[in-house]
Amino acid sequence: MSTYFEIKPKGKFSFGLGELWEYRELFYFFTWRDVKVKYKQTVLGFLWAILQPLFMTVVFTLFLGESISQKTQLTIPYPVFALSGMLLWGIFSGGMSNAANSMVSNANIIKKIYFPRLIIPISAILVSLIDFFIASIVFLVVLFFYKVNINYMSILFLPLSVIITCLSAMGIGTTLAAMNIKYRDVKYVIPFLVQGLLFLTPVLYPENISTYPVIKFILKLNPLAGALELMRGIFNGYEISFDTVLISLASSMILFVVGIIYFRKTESYFADLA
């Protein structure tokens, strides 16, 4: 019989890919539910996906735009630079914090039904990816408005940029989600982690803002640095620093693998602790 199964005490480690495939429809349903619920009973609806990055961009342009542009000899208009960063940052921050809270907020489901638990945090990241695509439409309008020259070849790198961002969001998100089940302290750490990381990441300023080698090195280690490099490569005249991209790719993959392993190792006891 094809439906043979065994239930045993926790055995050898596996990523459980076969099972994830078997339950693939649930990715769709969880993402779909969260997208639907997210903007229910709001007047502006999907506009919120656009307003959040736009607002940050406006604030930073007004207060810091000029000085950052001058100091770092930015070749593209600062609002375009900042918005491109905020869009990618939106995937990371939204995805990571939703994923980190997802296990606790779905505790009632976890305690009653079995399915591969990874579906929940991964769906949380898919939700923020959808926000990203919506907000990208506005980004196109802004690009057109500032008449920015686009290097069309570099657009091919954009998917890699999004993948690096998603991998890091998943890595940190799943780690925090698993920890959150056991230690609710995580709930309080998340907002402040997101805020701190925003300033540690070259989202609103270019990587060359600091001349100290140590700070430059730390910024390079940040997995989002490479993703942002690729994103900004689409502007004509922007030099992608490929060593940053490679470092980011490696660090995002490490975060991802560590996160998934930690999550998989602890997930069987989620129902007992949630």
């Binding site: 019989m1 439906t3 043979y4 199964f5 065994e6 239930i7 045993k8 005490p9 926790k10 429809e25 649930l26 349903f29 539910r33 639907k36 619920v37 229910k40 009973q41 009632n108 489901i109 976890i110 305690k111 009653k112 039904i113 079995y114 399915f115 089940i181 056991k182 230690y183 609710r184 302290d185 069987s268 006891y269 129902a271 007992d272 602790l273």
Partner: protein, 402 residues
């Protein structure tokens, strides 16, 4: 053919410490590093449980609170892993530890059916195929595109059960979900469950409603303290469960020493048909009350004994009176047994009032609200009305058209 489920030596251990603290904070965990003593204590929710489920079995799992029923179901549903042991299954398993898991108030009825169905493990195509039947069964077709938060709680429950009712898995694990909705809907649910079991699928069913268990299940598993106490056909298992509850709720009365009137109840006890002390009785079981009266030599001709059944609000249900002298012997003690016929007293909790008195109004002894008993539904016609106050007596009246 191999059994559809083989449960082999399943045990589950909890640390009691963790039970008391629903979640830990990092600080607690850090401070524990410096503590020498470990204060946790092992608690075995399940201890070496093994049994086999054949295809098409309907198995009722009974036992008191904390006997390990829910833990067993959670392990079977893969929600929590066993500490040791192994379960081999040969079929798609669906567990209904709750109806409406994943329901979201902001989503419409239609969207919730899709969401809930897929969480329960249905394919989208399967849900869409049954969609009209689900909505019909729940009786909410008018509101199917309304957000769930505007549904009455009854409508939500009906919709939730309806989704579950159309699961096509070979093995169904059901925990108390029948205890929802009004009497009418419960009846519908029971009917649906019977259909499901007749269709050759395998059901594991946990319920406190023993009536529902006998109605639905052919086999029973009785858990006590994490171990299997008895396993076999449903009515045998149910009986041993009923008998095990003996002496728990005070079905025995013994006169206190200081009570030294001339004529008094020395001892009263409720027994089952086999003369074994019991406090829980099936609806279809006779109740025997054994009374020992002290001081028989003072008995006058018109002395009478009465017993009165009291319901749980201590309202009187009926009284039976007998002249004492017929029981007299030469001893100072008389032992009397009273048999209350079966299949009359409705399932519920009761107690008794006992009196010794004479016609001129003298009361020798009067005790109220003792020998508490419980009548348990073993599948009466009124099972489906559980929770409805239909009185304390079930009578088979003669209905005829004229």
């Amino acid at each position: 053919m191999k059994p559809i489920l083989e449960i082999q030596h399943i045990s589950k251990k909890f640390l009691i410490n963790h039970e008391q603290q629903p979640y830990l904070s990092l600080r607690d965990s850090l401070s524990k590093v410096f503590k020498v003593k470990n204060t946790t204590e092992d608690f075995w929710a399940l201890n070496d449980v093994s049994f086999i489920v054949e295809q098409g079995d309907t198995i009722g799992i009974i036992g008191k609170n904390g006997a390990g029923k829910s833990t067993l179901l959670k392990i079977l549903s893969k929600i929590t892993p066993p500490t040791s042991g192994k379960i081999i299954g040969r079929g798609r398993i669906a567990s209904l530890l709750e109806v409406g898991t994943g329901f979201h108030p902001e989503l419409s009825g239609r969207e919730n059916v899709l969401m809930n169905g897929s969480i329960l493990g249905m394919r989208k195509a399967e849900i869409l195929k049954n969609f009209d039947n689900i909505v019909d069964f729940a009786g909410v077709s008018k509101f199917i595109d309304t957000p769930l938060k505007h549904y009455s709680s009854g409508m939500q429950l009906r919709l939730a059960f309806a989704v579950a009712a159309f699961l096509e898995n070979e093995i169904l694990i059901i925990d108390e979900v029948l205890a929802v909705g009004d009497a009418d809907f419960q009846k519908k649910c029971m009917g649906k469950m019977e259909d499901v079991s007749r269709s050759g699928r395998t059901i594991l069913f946990v319920s406190h409603n023993l009536g529902a268990v006998t109605q639905l299940c052919k086999k029973g598993v009785y858990l006590q303290g994490g171990k299997i106490e008895k396993i076999g056909n449903a009515s045998d298992v149910l009986n041993s469960y009923l008998n095990s509850e003996d002496n728990e709720i005070g079905n025995r009365y013994i006169a206190k020493n200081e009570k030294k009137s001339e004529l008094f109840f020395q001892e009263i006890e409720t027994l089952n048909e086999n003369n074994i002390s019991a406090s829980s009785f099936g609806f279809d079981e006779n109740i025997v009350i054994k009374i020992t009266i002290n001081g028989s030599k003072f008995v006058e001709r018109d002395t009478k004994i009465s017993i009165t059944l009291l319901d749980k609000f201590q309202a009187r249900v009926f009284t039976s009176v007998k002249v004492f002298s017929v029981f007299l012997n030469n001893n100072s003690f008389s032992v009397i047994s009273i048999k209350i016929p079966k299949s009359i007293i409705a399932p519920n909790s009761y107690s008794f009032r006992y009196a010794i008195f004479n016609d001129s109004g003298k009361v020798y002894d009067l005790i109220e609200n003792i020998t508490k008993i419980k009548i348990i539904d073993t599948g009466t016609e009124m099972t489906k009305y559980e929770g409805v106050d239909y009185g304390s007596v079930i009578l088979n009246c003669n209905w005829q058209s004229v």
